[in-house]
Subunit: 443 residues, 2 copies
């Protein structure tokens, strides 16, 4: 992001920057599909009534109205507005199409979302999210909580983003612990703990005492729980050592231990039990996930999610789910800002077929067609300018090869980086593998 967006909060990329974003999206898609997740897209708009059914976030929503229409009252629940995430539209989609879906339903979804909030580093008004979820009808085995952690580790590991850490906690564990402690508003405690990174332990303790009626000992215990972080299941012993017991706590300990034990075996060093993770939103009911880029902790979580016992419900049907959402724009904007990754050229073309004279255009197109049939991206010069000018045309775009057709029908191809030129057969020539497609190179 060397350049400033012309509309604050609405980033746009240059072609070579977009190539990096495309690489990220292609890589995610590939990993998700390898794990059996199918793609869907939902419409960009929802009714205001559906978007705001959980309350709280109306400040951020962009309402829609036809410029030529009569004024619609913004409070009209049937008015349209842009979605602010992919979970709320997905919940509607599942209910509307339940009869046509096979449950547990695995889907990924990569679309832009909009939030009218104040833009700042890593926060945008329009941004791309990539979500995966598994949704059951009635029930959904806990094993999917484990599987999704592994899928997301595999997906993020395939990206050129450097080291990351998936931090996992469990709402049952935390809420059970607070209940076992005798705190009566576990959700309120969780919301206070969620502020830990922002305001520090002392202020959280004060909140717990003043707003949630905690004693000094209770506040201390809640903070002690939140300080536990282990790369294996040794957190279980550390929690037990705090001397609190509650059936919900037991359930949460068992679930989180299963996630971490599996990760130790299948994704070592990438998953940590972090008992400070709370996730502000209320609908999570079990596992919660956050992800930090190591060395970029200030960026916030680049991938978050969790288990919700009710993504949606209709009549007596309930749809539990577990899922994660990757903040693609946040990730890509950081990669661009740091120039940690670059694209090897600004166009797909590996070859420019030069023109010796204007009549040679058809022959040049024949060469291009022959090369394209083997998956090589090719442009043909539009005019028979001096060869130096045609080579410069390629050079400015980073096109590595220029193809020349001699008057005698001979063919030569020049690597304009090395200057090396050799004869070539349009029916068989291939560029080196690393030049075939735009390369995404870590700095």
């Amino acid at each position: 992001m060397a350049r400033k967006a012309s509309l604050s909060g609405f980033p746009e990329w240059l072609p070579q920057e977009r190539a990096i974003e495309q690489h990220v999206l292609d890589t995610l898609r590939k990993t998700f599909e390898l794990h059996g997740f199918g793609n869907i897209e939902t419409r960009a708009v929802e009714t205001v009534g559906h978007l705001l059914r959980k309350g709280e976030i109306d400040k951020e929503v962009y309402g829609l109205s036809r410029l030529a229409a009569e004024e619609t009252a913004k409070s009209d629940p049937n008015a349209l507005a842009l979605h602010f995430d992919l979970t709320v539209p997905f919940a509607r989609y599942v209910v509307e199409n339940a009869g046509h879906l096979a449950f547990p339903f695995r889907r990924y979804q990569m679309q832009k979302v909009w939030r009218g909030e104040r833009p700042q580093d890593g926060r945008f008004r329009e941004f791309m999210q990539a979500d995966i979820d598994v949704v059951g009808e009635g029930t959904l085995p806990f094993r999917y909580d484990v599987e999704l952690a592994l899928v997301i580790v595999e997906a993020l590991s395939a990206l050129p983003i450097g080291d990351f850490m998936l931090r996992v906690n469990n709402r049952k564990l935390a809420e059970g612990f607070y209940l076992g402690l005798g705190l009566e508003d576990p959700a309120g405690v969780l919301r206070s703990i969620d502020k830990l990174e922002k305001i520090g332990a002392e202020k959280v303790a004060e909140l717990l005492r003043t707003e949630l009626g905690a004693t000094d000992a209770q506040a201390e215990a809640a903070l002690a729980l939140a300080s536990i972080r282990t790369l294996d299941d040794s957190f279980v012993g550390q929690v037990r050592a705090l001397g609190v017991s509650h059936p919900l706590l037991e359930e949460g300990l068992e679930e989180l231990a299963e996630v971490v034990r599996t990760a130790v075996r299948r994704a070592p060093g990438k998953v940590i039990a972090d008992l400070s993770i709370a996730r502000g939103l209320d609908y999570y009911t079990g596992t919660v996930y956050e992800t930090v880029l190591v060395g970029h902790e200030s960026l916030g979580s680049i991938c978050s999610g969790g288990r919700y016992e009710s993504l949606a419900s209709k009549g007596n049907k309930n749809y539990p789910g577990v899922g994660l959402s990757i903040g693609v724009t946040r990730l890509v904007s950081r990669m661009l800002a740091e120039a940690s990754v670059t694209a090897s050229r600004s166009v797909p073309s590996a070859v420019l077929v030069a023109l010796a004279n204007d009549e040679g255009w058809h022959d040049a197109q024949d060469v291009a067609a022959a090369l394209r049939s083997r998956g090589i991206c090719v442009e043909v010069a539009a005019a028979a300018e001096k060869f130096g000018k045609q080579i410069k045309f390629a050079d400015r775009r980073g096109i590595p090869f220029v193809w020349f057709i001699g008057e005698d029908g001979s063919h030569e191809v020049k690597d304009i980086r090395s200057g090396e030129q050799s004869s070539a057969d349009p029916a068989s020539w291939m560029p080196p593998a690393q030049d075939l497609h735009v390369g995404i190179v870590s700095a």
Copy 2:
């Protein structure tokens, strides 16, 4: 589109329908990139001032306002609104980023656009467009008009949409002819001719006489021109036989003849000179294109565009361009409505690894990882239910293969369509090529 969209004009696809749309988008992307077009995306919103700078279409624009904000006057040119096509945002993008782009700049863009118009068959309020354009700085050789016709024929030929015909005309030809005839408002004549398919020749003649001051003979000649359709350059002789001459007409004849002659050689039978094509919008200045699906003419054009001498300008810089836009949603909705194309399964997975018992989950994940490393999409059963139930799970999704791990560590794979079961090695087994990915099958 067996199902009705829950919000009129905002279609959403089931996973197996989205697979068809993805196939269309992937195929277009591949063709465009093979021809050296790079991808960009622009933000979904523009300022109202930019969107309406050409006037006329304000009825269709969706304005945006934050639900929590003070009321913004809709007429405020700085207010935000959703783009209604990809050309207007692209024009802004080119001007804003001109210093970072290499001209002639080739790009493709595949994004949703929004229009608040009344939904009807083939017309939506939210729909996907796929655009390609080449834009020059100052000048742009005519040859790109020829090239773009060939690229689009190649792209559409690669789609499972059946026979189509690219209808090409040239604004200079038509306007020069009208000027040569002595008609003083060639743009007005063009707008009347544009109504030919809708209201018929008689009514167009009446419009020409009453609204454009044409004599009977002039109206007749204009209609005679619009009746010319040839698959080769014989239209030139037919136009000349009408006895009109004008320098602009000559220029247009020469340009259109070059497009058609090249098409005869490189895309035979796919391009027709059709002198009735007018394209309502005013900014085209030379070549104009429309595309009909043979047998689906009532659907309207599925791909249109043309040459514009000024896509954008800033100071003394002018950016001419030529491009086309494919109506992807219109195309896909017709494919779905006709069931002319189906997806072979509703999920990416080619294999389900079954569980004999819950402890086998890790072994099953090992098998899945081995298969995925060769690009095979795999799911692992979440619970060790009866094999019959696990096979049914695969069957409901169209997953063709179920993998079994014996207690002795042996491996067998069953094609659940044929019932055939044989031993298999996770390190080397491959499904038949047609089962590797979701197949898109023409009915």
